[in-house]
Structures are given as C-alpha cells and as structure tokens.
Amino acid sequence: MLKVIAACGSGMGSSQIIKMKIEKIFKKLGISVQIHHSSVSEAKNLASNYDVVFCSEALKGNFANAAANGTIVIGLKNLLSEQEIEQKIIENVVNKK
C-alpha cells in the first residue's frame, strides 16, 4: 500500500482536487494507495512519513527536506490534466519501484 499525501496552501482547494484526480489514476493503473490531503504547513512536517507527496508545481519547494529523505515529490502544473498526472505517476512512481 502506497502512502500518498496531497498538499495545498489551505488544504481545502487544490489538495482535494488533486486527491480526486490521483485516486482515479492510481485505480486505473492498479496501484493500491492510501491518500490523505492537508495544508502545506501540516504536510511539511508529515511528508517524510509518506511515500509520495503531490502538490502544485508552485508549492514543490516546500518539500525539499522530504525529497532529500527519499520521499517522492510530484509537482503538477495542470491539476485537471489526467494525462499529466498519469505520466508523472508512471515516471516517478511506477518506473522507480
């Protein structure tokens, strides 16, 4: 079970949109996941407990520490593009296993 967290500035907008979208793509790819969502300030402290962090490209810099500790950090340019999400999951998660 892959542990995933979606983060955004407030925890109620884009992180929930990311959660909806990645749930769909992980299901399509047959990867079982547990997805949480939260604000960046909370997620920053929790990120190292997760396998993958998803956030907007603009927020990626907040997770440099977690990335240095081996957490995969994926920044999305277009949160609504399932194509971008799928491509980035394949590139960063599937091919890294």
Binding site: G9, S10, A58, L59, N78, S81
Partner: protein, 144 residues
C-alpha cells in the same frame, strides 16, 4: 453547485483587472454582498497567494481563489467570475486566469460535493472552452 450559484446570483463578468489582488476582490464581491463571506476573506486569500505563490491557478486559465475552511466564511459557497482579458498572477503566462471560482467552506461534505461537480465540469475541455467564451450569465445558463 451551478444551480445554487445561478439562483443566488453569485457571478460577475468583467473586462479585466490591473492586478490579481483587484481581481480576487471583485471575484469575492457577490459573496460579501450576500453575507456568505466576510470582507476579511479577500485579505486571507491574498495573504495565502503571497505566502505560497499562485498555486490557486490550477490549470490554464482557471483560478480557484480560496483561503482556509471556516475563517472569514459564514456559508459554504461557490462564486463565478469571468474576465475577457487574462489576469496575471506572475510573469509567467502559465499563471494567467480568466475563469474564477471562489470557494468558501464551513461544511466539508457540502464543499466536497461542490468541488467534485466543479472538477467534473472543468475536466471537460470543450466545456472549459465554452465557459471561457461566456460573456454573460445567459451564456452560462445555456451551458449548464
């Protein structure tokens, strides 16, 4: 979500704005006028963007201004704003927006319903194209 937005007249149409801050204030205006959010909500959104960057531009041309749940908010609501000219959130055209959906939430389950309806509409590229061409509420009504 769209039904309520239309019924409660939570929409506005504009030519453009000099700054993204003005655009956020204008986008929130119908919600302030009907009491769904307090005037502070505008400042909270602006503060968030200044702190974290233009992440509320979630896709090309689409912006979802919002702050935290329950702060400066009286009611869970969505409010639409459409501009003719793009509003710039940074020097990069990636952060230009013309279609705004202000999100306000006091109740996460209603908010999530609103959000999933919104995401469904916005995931349809031909729908987004039509929304971007809308210049009046009649144009929006014809799409929903």
């Amino acid at each position: 979500m769209f039904k309520e937005l239309l019924e409660k007249k939570r929409y506005s149409f504009h030519d453009g704005f000099e700054s993204w801050e003005e655009a956020i204030a204008a986008a929130c205006k119908p919600l302030i006028e009907d009491g769904a959010v307090l005037e502070d909500y505008v400042d909270l959104i602006i503060k968030n963007v200044k702190e974290y960057g233009p992440y509320i531009v979630i896709a090309p041309d689409i912006c979802i201004p919002h702050a935290q749940e329950g702060r400066g908010v009286n009611e869970t609501a969505v409010c639409l704003m459409k501009t003719k000219k793009p509003v710039h959130f940074s020097d990069s055209p990636e952060h230009d927006a013309r279609l705004f959906f202000v999100l306000a939430s006091t109740d996460n389950s209603i908010h999530l319903q609103n959000l999933s309806e919104l995401v469904e509409y916005l995931s349809d590229e031909s729908m987004v194209k039509k929304l971007l061409e809308a210049e009046s509420v009649e144009d929006i009504k014809a799409l929903i």
